[in-house]
Symmetry: C2
Subunit: 710 residues, 2 copies
């Protein structure tokens, strides 16, 4: 999982049902033995008894779904995760090729219809030297330890030092100023007590809404010389330090907007179109421990009242500048590296040219047990189970792709280049994109979706047993604990290109939130089995939900899309915007467009119901044409929200309902163009224009849903 | 037909087989009687004898085509044209509503599946006062007569005074400078003899490659105060004056990029996004007679050698400035007007959600007998004949739309707004757009097409008898006379939005070229029957070709698209570009992309051949799916040439292979972004980037043609 550009993740801390503790070595050993035995049993059993396992008619949807769920294997998933996380596998490094080979071999050995690589060259960023030293008021100096792990001797075991990818090389020396979360309102609070950060080094703690790229961007605009960022959630007490990218926008920086294929056009690294995506001032992550040393040493004014006694910042905290000077140095290198996506194909029988795409990235900052290989192991298990279903005679109606992306951590590069290369065919033929990044971070099911998929998502949750309570389904616990399906405006995983650039209906799912070892050296297999999913029940639940969504979307003759749900969500967005605007700008264009959309959505639902109820004859060409025609309209409707001009200043992001707004403080979480116009205090005319643009995008969606022409 | 932004029309003058003469009144009267009798016979005969006229199996393609051709009626077409051209019918005026009613009633009376209006509000431009006066060296003054017709008393008969739509109101007074065709090279020639046009009024004669908007734009940039434009082709000696628009870009200026629907967003007229599309200096058209009075009076240097003795400019011509001062005044008004497109639908039986669109505009500067109602009468007759085919039991496989556009003369406004409103569905479901504007201007068949339609076009020409030689087909004469299918880079008729903005494969056709009464008061029914098509044979031939193209595209199970032809054309474009660049910038990216495209085109052709040869069973769902899938790929491939960023500075134009280049002198006629970069002396890096963009668009087309994903 990458840095959110505009993060609105749910952040309610949840208590893990598996408290943090180190199991004794014997316990671990026995556990591994049990897993191995279980794996062998599961892998070999089905092959020997297909007649018993598989019903005569595997095309009965209910039986097929049950069969899929019953073919789960915790031990197999565990074995995948163990293999994937043996070494750190940062994109562009040698050990990352081992995970590539592992995934590629896995899919190939399953005998799916096709497994191939989609490779690109991309400009990646690595550190060569980093240092941070402080000089305190008493004249003492301190050189900080910037590692969160002791390196082993083996080259393959080198965990990259904590750094910010694409931060420029350079040194910054200056008084330290503590800027809280580094948001605009934090700087305004500092201004009100007379504190400026000009020519200072700012120290920020990661907050809930602003990502590290945003923190650096604002600090740079305020005249800071350098940025140090720490997380209060200190790797669960392990001393982890959070790596991450600070690049603006997503995708390969030297092929902006087009696929970075081998032999294709690449901009020079010094080209303005490249450098504008990198910060101008250096930044580094810092451990909580080091940050608190600096915080304790600061002079200057006392922190604005609203910052004090929040998190770990105390009542007496001073913000500087004064007393402590920091000297930070970062030497990095930008390197063109080959990156490798894996695409495995299960060809559809009746609509081979319609696609359901499941995707997860493979590259990790360190060992990647949570991020992203909990998802990868689920994807590999889905592949295994789909292969079993195929052997039983199943063949999905539509084509299913299982995708393993590379270089997500540098800015969703693998998936973005692929989307850019395939954008036309995606627009014409992709039914949905189902993303899982950190499949298991802890407890509790979370999901984001485009609203026409809400009902389908809940249907799938209803079919899967809750991993933490055998008496319940995931739907039961989801509804009692969380019950909010997020909207996908954030830009922090591979769905971004699919949804924000190509307009593909998308789902993103994860178990747990805000896990402490995020992007640290401690995101390891050991951490996973000790803290987040000892028996891999949650992995299995996620694989179950994800695979079922794939099966249903690929198999249902009429696509299970509910645009009434979308209309209701748009209506709620309209209401929230209207409240924020307090009548200063009219939202009538939205109201009218949503009203029309709503009516058409109802008509389409009725039409779908009728077609669903019709008897289904294989030779009925006319019925097939009617279903296809309706499905195409439902597939296409999401593309209506795309606008070829895109979001102002971020033109690559074309979706006007969900996408990144520059300013987290507007807190709209939707209509990014409107949110930007409001946050930047644009004229009423400009806000009105942005509202019109959204309204027209809804009208386009209506027309797509309705079909035909005016 | 509107002003070409970048015109590369073939301009070889052709001798009409019907020499220009006035037939005696009795002759005209008898002719009308013959037409009326013939009309009655044709309209009433088929209804009474369907069993004889229509074969048992109307779905036999050859029989159907023969039936369509045999149902032609010269007299009926003539009656349509007579009715449409009774009054001048400029868009936004009252008499234009009569033509709307006529067309609407016609389609409705045919009982087609649906006939509806698609209405918009658009900012149109009309003159309220115009004057041009000259003061000569001898002190005499002269007020020019700016009319080309004596107005009748009836309000409906008012021909609008010759003017340039969207020229700003204002006066300009200054020395006259003759600038030849007003191209950049003409100004460079003037510079070389020490002549500047700063603070002068320029006088330009319309040339072959630069349209009136371009003439004004360059004059404005050179510091001229006003522009007078004349045509040497003086309405065939009738003293006609050429009206036209000088707006930049196409479509409604107050809804740029979005549909100007009633109740939708409209920019203020003073908004920069609106005013940048209008010239800053006034311009007016002038008759040849008046222009020659001015030309004869000029002092100053003698014209550059290359201008002399070309057209009507003599050896001794002087260019000014000096001796003659002109004072020109234009008062105009910009008015929001409702415009009305008519869309008639013939629903497809097997693929109702795939569309073949036939379109022609209805509005005219004056009576519009050539421009555009020769095309309208052909369209109405196609409607009539399709209706007969439907009665016989025919039903096209795909849906056919017959469209009558409004306000084309102001800048393709009716079709552009419609394309903008329907762009998503067009992209997803439009197979082809077939445009006819001036169906008959004179003799000789001309056509432009996107290259995958070349073969189909020739096939259709082969089926239609040459209107001027009963022993030959149109293909025979086309091949012996012209034999060049133009490429559609020009922006002078309604195909522009379909091709340049929406990427729909398109054809544009006309009989004759460079007719003398273009946009003058003399473009009347009388002129047509006296000069261009006395017996309406050419109208019938055009309706035959147009209708056949519609039938074939709508009926063929496998779309008759030939992408090998496109690959060859791209290769020829590459070669021409390579020659122009003389190795300064590499065209290798194009070579590689075209090579790949060529290979895939061949594979697709083989695949199409196999599917065509397969026996066709109505109940074979799998075969239907395979055909549909192939057809979708062939339909989609043209969209690959679209780029969401569009052409630099003209971002609405998204097609990177065909579209308007600012500068006619590059003479490429394709790759408009590359042409612009070369013509504006951009850096080699920028030219290279534009070449890469075209190469990537070809790669997108390849991927669409191939289907699936990398």
């Amino acid at each position: 999982m990458s840095q959110p550009l505009t993060a609105t993740r749910l952040t309610t801390a949840r208590t893990s049902i598996f408290p943090l503790r180190h199991p004794p070595p014997l316990c671990s050993f026995l556990f591994v033995i049990v897993l191995i035995v279980a794996t062998f049993y599961t892998l070999h059993h089905p092959d020997s008894t297909p007649p018993l396992l598989f019903p005569r008619n595997p095309h009965n949807p209910l039986a097929l779904r049950r069969l899929f769920l019953s073919s789960a294997s915790n031990a197999t998933v565990a074995s995948y995760l163990r293999a994937l996380t043996r070494h750190p596998h940062l994109a562009g490094t040698k050990p990352s090729l081992d995970t590539l080979t592992y995934v590629l071999n896995h899919f190939q050995s399953l005998g799916l219809d096709d497994t191939h690589l989609a490779e690109y060259e991309a400009l990646l960023s690595y550190p060569t030297h980093i240092s941070v030293a402080a000089r305190f008021s008493n004249g003492t100096k301190m050189e900080f330890d910037l590692n969160d792990v002791v390196h082993g001797g083996d080259d393959d075991d080198v965990v990259v030092r904590p750094y910010h990818a694409y931060s420029p090389s350079g040194s910054a020396q200056g008084d330290v100023v503590f800027v809280n979360h580094g948001e605009e309102r934090d700087y305004r609070a500092l201004e009100s007590i007379g504190v400026s950060v000009r020519d200072c080094v700012v120290l920020a703690r990661k907050g809930e809404s602003l990502g590290r790229g945003g923190i650096v961007k604002i600090a740079e605009a305020r005249g800071a010389l350098g940025v140090l960022i720490y997380a209060e959630n200190d790797g669960g007490g392990l001393g982890g330090i959070e790596r991450g990218t600070v690049m603006r926008g997503i995708g390969d920086p030297v092929s902006p907007g087009w696929p970075g294929v081998v032999g294709g056009e690449k901009l020079r690294v010094g080209d303005n179109r490249v450098t504008k995506r990198f910060p101008k001032i250096p930044s580094l992550p810092l451990s909580l421990h080091n940050a608190e040393i600096i915080l304790a040493s600061l002079g200057g004014a006392r922190a604005p009242v609203e910052w004090r006694n929040s998190g770990r910042v105390g009542w007496g905290q001073r913000v500087g500048p004064g007393l402590t000077v920091v000297n930070m140095t970062l030497q990095g290198e930008l390197k063109m590296k080959k990156i490798h996506n894996v695409v495995a194909t299960i060809r559809g029988s009746e609509e081979p040219d319609r696609y359901v795409i499941l995707g997860n990235h493979r590259d990790a900052w360190t060992y990647g047990a949570v991020d992203p290989n909990s998802g990868t192991s689920a994807l590999l298990d889905i592949g295994r189970r789909f292969s079993l279903l195929l052997e039983s005679g199943w063949r999905p109606r539509r084509t299913i792709l299982l995708c393993s992306w590379d270089a997500e951590e540098f800015g969703m590069i693998g998936s973005t280049e692929w989307v850019e290369e395939n954008v036309l065919n995606l627009g014409a033929s992709a039914v949905a994109y189902l993303n899982v990044d950190c499949a298991v971070q802890g407890s509790g099911f979370f999901a984001g979706a485009t609203p026409q998929l809400d009902g389908l998502l809940l249907d799938a949750l209803r079919l899967v047993q809750d991993p933490d309570d055998v008496a319940l389904t995931v739907e039961d616990t989801f509804k009692s604990q969380n019950n909010v399906i997020e909207r996908l405006s954030r830009v922090d995983s591979d769905f971004s290109g699919f949804l924000h650039h190509a307009g593909i209906p998308s789902i993103d799912m994860y178990y747990g939130a805000d896990y402490p070892v995020y992007h640290t050296a401690f995101d390891s297999y050991d951490w996973m089995i000790r803290n987040a999913d000892p028996l891999f029940h949650r992995h299995v639940a996620m694989a179950g939900i994800w695979g079922l969504l794939g099966i249903i979307l690929a198999d249902e003759p009429v696509l299970p899309f509910d645009y009434i749900s979308y209309a209701e969500q748009l209506q709620a967005h309209r209401d929230a915007l209207s409240k924020l605007l307090q009548g200063k700008v009219s939202v009538d264009p939205l109201s009218m467009a949503i009203q029309e959309f709503s009516i058409i959505a109802k008509e389409v639902k009725d039409e779908a119901k009728k077609l669903e109820e019709q008897a289904y004859s294989k030779n009925d060409v006319a019925a097939a044409v009617r279903r296809r025609e309706l499905n195409d309209r439902m597939m296409l409707a999401e593309r209506g929200f795309l606008d070829s001009e895109g979001i102002k200043g971020k033109e690559w992001f074309k979706h006007l309902v969900y996408g990144p707004a520059a300013e987290p403080e507007s807190k709209l979480g939707f209509f990014p163009g409107v949110a930007d116009a409001i946050a930047t205090n644009s004229s009423e005319g400009m806000i009105e224009h942005e509202i019109w643009r959204v309204a027209r995008s809804i009208q386009r969606a209506s027309k797509a849903l309705q079909g035909g022409f005016t």
